[in-house]
Symmetry: C2
Subunit: 689 residues, 2 copies
C-alpha cells in the first residue's frame, strides 16, 4: 500500500462537503481553505455550485482530475459507492470520516470488509472508516473534522502522532500544542479497514521529517506487521513511544497452554515492545515527556549517571529513582572532588554531588561540578537539580550559561535539569539542548529511557530454519528426543518395556531414578498412578513397575502404554519451566518461569517473542531473579548461566520454526545443575498441517 498520497496529497476532494463549517463535511473544507493548504481543494456536493467560496462538483465522476486524496464525509450507507467511484476515477487515497461500520456490528463489518477489498485491489490507501482524519503540519494539510486546529496549530517539528482512537488523537494534538511539542504528522486510524497503526509507523520510519513516533494502540490485528514496523523504526533510529491500554477478550485465547495462562494478553504486547525497543508510556504525561526528550535531538545516553544537586535530600530521591531505573552512579573522580572541596569544604562529592545551599554564595562551583562530571569520562548522562535558583533573575542567566558551557565541553553528554524555571529560562535551556523538568525524578527517568533505547538498538535476532515434519502427538520419550535433536539436552533416561528392563535401567542410571509411564495419551501421569519416585532397591523398582502398569491399566484403560521411562533424578540448583504458544496476533511467544506454587501464585513468569536474542533472555532471567539464584545466591554454589540461556534460545527457535503448527511445547521442569541444564519432563504436540 502506497501511503504517500495520505500524507502529501497535491489535491484533495471533500465528498459530502458542507457549507456549514461545524459539520463533518464542512470542517475539512474550512480547515484546508483557511489554514494555508497549498494544493487544489475540490468540494463535492450534488446540491451546490459553491461550498465555502470554492467551486463545488456535483459528483466524484465530475472531478477535473484524479485526486491524490478524497475525504469522505457522507452517511455510512453511501460510502461504499463513493469508494467505488473514487477507484474508477483513479483517486490514490481516501480518508473515510463517516461512522457506522464495524463498530456498529456484523452488517457494518461486512460492508467495511468489501470496501477494504476494493481499495486493496486498486491500491487506494483507505484510512478509517470512523476516524478523525490526518494532518501534515508542514504542508498545512488538515484533513480532519476535529475542530482542534481552530484553537491553534502546534509548532512544526519532528514528532508524529498516530492513534487508533480519534478522541485520544485529538487530545494528544491539544497537548502537543499546549506543551510546545513540534509535530510532523498526525494520523487517526479508526476502524483500520485497510491502513493500520502499523502501516503508518512503517511509513513514518522512512519519512525524513519524522524523528520520534507517538503511537496509541487499543489492539493490533496483524501482530507481525506491527513488529516489523517497530523494528523498522528502530533500525531507522526513530524511537516509538507507545500507549497500549486495556486487555483483549479472554475468549480469544481459548487454545492457550496452562503456562501461558499466567501471562495475560498484555504480557504479549509487553514482550513485543521489549523485543522491538518500543518504549511504553504508562500515562499520557509520560508519553509527552518522553516524546519531548527524544525529540530534542540529544546524544544517546548510557547507564552511568552523574547527579549534581544543591540539596542532599533531593539528591537521595534522585539516586533512589536511578536505582529503580537500573542506572549506575559511579563515584566522582578524585581530581573533580578535590577541586570542589577546595571551594566548598562541606560539599558532598559522592555521586549524587551536593554543592549545598552555599551555591548562592559561590555560584561558579555549580558549573565546576557540572562540567567536572560531564568531562570526566566516567559518565554517560548528567542529571542536575537546582531547586528554585532559576527563579532568581540574578541566578538564572549564569546557570543557563553554565549548562551551555557544559554541553559545549561535553557534546556527547545528554543533560537533564530539574528545578523551578519560568518559561523563558526553560526555553533557553531547551534551545541549548538541555531537558528541563520541575520534578527531579523525571530528569532521571528520561535519561534512563534514553539509555535503555540506546542499548536496545544494538540487539539482533536470528531467524531459525524451518523444522522437519514430526508426527502430531509425541509421548514423553519422543518429546525428549525431539527436543534433544534440536539442541535441548534431556535428563539421562532409558525406555523400559518390562520390570527387568526397568531394573537394569535403574542400575545403569546409578540407582537414583524416577519411573514414569510413557503414553502419548496421558498428559497428567500422576493422576493415574503413573509416576513413582524414591526407589531404593531392585525390589522397589520391580514393585513400582508393576504398580504403575496395574494402576494405569485400571484408571486409563484406553491409553496406549508405550513403556516406562526410567529417568535419573537430578539435584536441581534451579527449576525453570518453559512453555510456548502461537499467539493469534503476534505469532510465536515463549513463557518462562520458576517452578512451584508460590511462583504461580505471584505470576512470576515472563513472555518473550520468538525467535529472540541472548540480550532478551538475559533481561528476562534477571527480571525473574533466576540469574541471581544461579549467581551464588545465599551461599548456594554459583553456576554458569550460559547453558540455560542457550537452551532458552534453542527452545524459542524450535517454537518459532514450528510457527502455526505449534500445538503444545512445554518443558517443566528444565533442571539447572552444576553440570548444565536438562529437560526432566516435556510435552510436545503439533497442530496437523
Amino acid at each position: 500500500m502506497i501511503l504517500d498520497p495520505l500524507f502529501s496529497p497535491r489535491s484533495v476532494a471533500i465528498v459530502g462537503a458542507s457549507q456549514n463549517a461545524r459539520k463533518v463535511g464542512g470542517m475539512p473544507v474550512h480547515l484546508l481553505g483557511q489554514l494555508g493548504y497549498a494544493g487544489a481543494i475540490y468540494p463535492v456536493n450534488p446540491g451546490a455550485a459553491e461550498v465555502q467560496g470554492l467551486k463545488a462538483f456535483a459528483s466524484v465522476a465530475e472531478l477535473p482530475e484524479p485526486v491524490d486524496m478524497a475525504i469522505v464525509a457522507v452517511p455510512a450507507g453511501s460510502v461504499e459507492p463513493v469508494i467505488e467511484q473514487l477507484v474508477a476515477q483513479r483517486a490514490r487515497a481516501a480518508v473515510v470520516l463517516s461512522s457506522g461500520f464495524a463498530e456498529m456490528g456484523e452488517q457494518g463489518a461486512v460492508v467495511q470488509a468489501r470496501m477494504a477489498a476494493c481499495a486493496r485491489k486498486s491500491g487506494l490507501a483507505l484510512l478509517g472508516p470512523n476516524c478523525l482524519g490526518v494532518m501534515n503540519l508542514r504542508q498545512k494539510l488538515f484533513a480532519t473534522f476535529s475542530p482542534a486546529p481552530l484553537a491553534g496549530v502546534p509548532q512544526v517539528g519532528s514528532v508524529a502522532i498516530v492513534s487508533q482512537s480519534g478522541a485520544f488523537g485529538a487530545y494528544a494534538y491539544s497537548l502537543a500544542r499546549k506543551n510546545d511539542l513540534g509535530l510532523s504528522h498526525w494520523v487517526t486510524t479508526g476502524n483500520e479497514a485497510a491502513v493500520s497503526v502499523a502501516d503508518v509507523i512503517d511509513w513514518l520510519a522512512d519519512d525524513a521529517d519524522t524523528q520520534v513516533i507517538l503511537a496509541y494502540i487499543e489492539g493490533a490485528r496483524d501482530g507481525a506487521a506491527l513488529q516489523r514496523a517497530l523494528l523498522k523504526a528502530r533500525a531507522a533510529g526513530k524511537p516509538v513511544i507507545v500507549t497500549k491500554v486495556g486487555r483483549t477478550a479472554a475468549g480469544a485465547r481459548a487454545a492457550m497452554s496452562h503456562t501461558a495462562s499466567l501471562s495475560g494478553e498484555d504480557a504479549v504486547y509487553q514482550a513485543v515492545f521489549d523485543a522491538t525497543g518500543a518504549i511504553r508510556a504508562r500515562t499520557v504525561d509520560e508519553m509527552f515527556r518522553l516524546a519531548q526528550a527524544f525529540a530534542l535531538g540529544m546524544p544517546p545516553a548510557g547507564r552511568r549517571l552523574a547527579i549534581v544537586t544543591v540539596s542532599g535530600g533531593v539528591g537521595t530521591l534522585m539516586a533512589d529513582s536511578a536505582s529503580d531505573e537500573g542506572l549506575e552512579l559511579p563515584p566522582l573522580p578524585a581530581p573533580v572532588c578535590e577541586a570542589l572541596r577546595a571551594r566548598i569544604p562541606f560539599c558532598a562529592t559522592d555521586n549524587p554531588v551536593d554543592v549545598t545551599g552555599q551555591v548562592t554564595a559561590d555560584l561558579p562551583v555549580l558549573g565546576m561540578a557540572m562540567q567536572g562530571a560531564a568531562t570526566s569520562g566516567e559518565y554517560d548522562a548528567l542529571a542536575i537539580f537546582v531547586a528554585a535558583a532559576l527563579g532568581s533573575p540574578a541566578l538564572a542567566p549564569p546557570i543557563v550559561q553554565m549548562v551551555r558551557e557544559t554541553l559545549a565541553a561535553a557534546p556527547q553528554m545528554p543533560v537533564a535539569l530539574s528545578g523551578i524555571a519560568d518559561d523563558q529560562t526553560r526555553r533557553a535551556l531547551l534551545d541549548a539542548g538541555c531537558l528541563v523538568y520541575e520534578e527531579p525524578t523525571h530528569a532521571v527517568e528520561v535519561l534512563a529511557a534514553k539509555a535503555r533505547w540506546a542499548a536496545h538498538r544494538a540487539e539482533e535476532v536470528a531467524v531459525p530454519a524451518p523444522l522437519a515434519q514430526p508426527p502430531a502427538v509425541l509421548n514423553e520419550v519422543e518429546a525428549l528426543a525431539f527436543l534433544s535433536r534440536h539442541g535441548v539436552p534431556p535428563a539421562p533416561h532409558r525406555l523400559a518395556h518390562s520390570a527387568e528392563e526397568a531394573v537394569s535401567a535403574w542400575k545403569a542410571l546409578g540407582g537414583q531414578a524416577v519411573l514414569k509411564i510413557v503414553s502419548a495419551d496421558l498428559l497428567h501421569k500422576s493422576d493415574v498412578g503413573g509416576v513413582r519416585v524414591g526407589l531404593r532397591s531392585e525390589q522397589e523398582v520391580r514393585e513400582a513397575h508393576d504398580a504403575i502398569v496395574a494402576s494405569v491399566t485400571r484408571l486409563a484403560p484406553r491409553a496406549r502404554r508405550q513403556g516406562l521411562l526410567v529417568a535419573r533424578k537430578l539435584d536441581p540448583l534451579a527449576e525453570v519451566m518453559l512453555g510456548a504458544r502461537h499467539d493469534p496476533v503476534f505469532g510465536t511467544v515463549i513463557v518462562l518461569g520458576l517452578g512451584g506454587v508460590a511462583v504461580e501464585l505471584h505470576a512470576r513468569t515472563a513472555v518473550l517473542t520468538a525467535p529472540t536474542s541472548a540480550a532478551r533472555v538475559h533481561a528476562c532471567l534477571a527480571g525473574l531473579g533466576i540469574l541471581k539464584l544461579l549467581g551464588g545466591w545465599r551461599g548456594r554454589p554459583a553456576v554458569d548461566a550460559q547453558p540455560l540461556v542457550d537452551t532458552v534460545l534453542r527452545f524459542a527457535d524450535i517454537a518459532a520454526a514450528l510457527g502455526p503448527r505449534l500445538g503444545t511445547l512445554e518443558i517443566n521442569p528444565l533442571i539447572v545443575t552444576a553440570e548444565g541444564v536438562a529437560a526432566a519432563d516435556a510435552v510436545v504436540s503439533f497442530v496437523p498441517a
Copy 2:
C-alpha cells in the same frame, strides 16, 4: 516541650543580627521587618546601636524582656554560650541557624548534645542547629535566612510543611507558591538536637490552622515518637503526606534475624506509614498533588469509583489505573444508562462511561452522566475526563456549571476532573470543590489515596499486656509450649526420651510423624543429622531415633540432648513464616512471608509494626497473595483465613509484649490446613533482662 513560642512568638530577638540583609544574621531581620511581622523585633549585635533601622542590643543579657523566640545566627563556637544566656533570660524558644555541629563530626555532636540537655532542662524549645528556620504564614513570621520569601509569599492556607532538610524545605516553599498551595506553617528541623519532625507533627496535630501536613524525613531517631505523632494526626483527621528518602546504614541492623534480613530498613518505615495512615509520596510532584487534594476539603472518598469520559481510550487508561490502585468500578445503574442512551445511542454506558465525541453536539449529556453517576448511590467517588473541551470558550463555562450542579446534587461525592484547562477554568473548578489535573490517571490516583486514607482512619490497634518472665533460651518443645500458652497453636507433638517412647508417640500421632532432636543449643538441627522424616514402620522409627542420637552425639557432642520431638506431619494448604525483631528506631516489628526458595529470592515478605490490627494483617496477607491462595486458588480447597489472621495478631502481641527483651521469635513454617493453623517449628530466645 512547649512549641507554641516557635510558631507564635510575640517577640523575636535575632542574635548575631547583621546590617547586611544577604547574611545569615541579616536576612531574618530583613524578612521580619519588611514582610509584616507584628511582634517586637530585637536585633542583638555588640557592635551596632541600630540594625536595619531597628534599635539593637549589645547582648542577650540586655534584652528588654524575656523573648518568646531567639534566632541564633552566630558562629558555631559562640552558640552554646548564647543558649545558656537565653536560658538565663527566660527565652522560650531558640532557632539555631548556625551550622558546625553534629553534621561536622564527633566534637560538634558533643557540643550539640550539651546544648540540647541545657534546653531540655529549662524548657527552651530548641530548633536546629543547622536548620533553615521556621515560618508562620498567618502571623507573617519569617524566622529564616532563606531568601525564598523575598521572591514572594504563598497564600495563607491549611497545609503545613515540615522538613528535616533545609534545601528541600526551601524548594517545597517555592513549589507551594508556584502551585498556589496555601500554607499555615513551614518548619525545617536540621540536626534535631531537640525539636524533631515528630515533635512538629505532634504540635501541628493540635493546631487549628493546619489541616494537612507535608513531612520530609531522612531518618528518625525516636521511632516511637514519630509513630505517636502520626497516630495523633490521624486521630485529628489530618492526613500526613510523607517523603522518606534513602536507606540507613546496613550496620545499624547487625542483630537482625534471618527472616527480617529480607525486608530492608525501608520496609520498616513503610510498615510504620502503613500502620499510622501516613501517605507516602514517591516524587515531589506527587507530594504536592496529594497535599492539594487533601487540602481542598472535599468529602472522604471510598473504593467504588465512577469514571465519566469523552474518550473510550482514555477511559480504559483510567480503568487500568483504578485497578492498579485497588478501586472498584461498579456498573452504572440501568435507569442512568437508559437516559444516556436515549440521548446518544452509541454512548458506552459501562463504567467507564464514554459519552463520545458527540458531546460537542449535545453537551448536556455530559452533565447527565456526571450527575446520574454521582447521585445513583452506587459510587463513592467520581473521576471525569473531558479532553480539550475546557479549552473552548464556548464549552468551559457550561462544563464548570455541570460540575457545580453535580457537587450540589451529591455533596458527599468527591470529584476529580482531568483535561486541558486554562488557569481561570482550573481556579473556578477548584473553587467549586472539584480537583483538576491534566493527566487523567492523576484524577484516579488522588481519589484512591483519599479512599485509602478514609478507610485507614477506622483502624484500631489494641496494646497487649506484658508477658511473664520466661527463661533466656527455649528448646523447640519449650518454644512451642510458650507460643501455645499465648494463643499460637502448635502442630500435635510429643516429647520422647527413648526409642520406645518415640514409637508410642509415633503411633499416638497416627503414624505420620517427623522426628527431631530437641536441644536449646541446636538452631540448625538438620545440619547435625537431627531430623528424620518419612517413617513408615515402628522399626524405622526406632532406627531413626538411634540414628539421630548417634549423629548428634558425634557431630555436636557439647549440645544438650533434651529428648526427641515426635511431631505429626500435617498436610499444608499454605506454609507461612513469621519472624519478629526489635528495631532500634521503631521498636517491635514482625515479618511475614510464604515459605520456599523462590519466595526468599523475590523477597516476598512484608513488615508490620507490632501490635497490629486485623485490617493490617488482612492487607498484608492480601499483598503477599496468601489470601488468594487460601481462597480456593486454582482448584485448591478454600479455607477460612480467620485462624491465620488471629494467629498473626497473637504473634505480634507476643513480640510487642516482649519489647526490648525479644531475642529471636520465629515460626517457620506456620502450617495452614483445612482445620486451622499450627506452628510446625519455632525458635524462641530472649535478651537477658
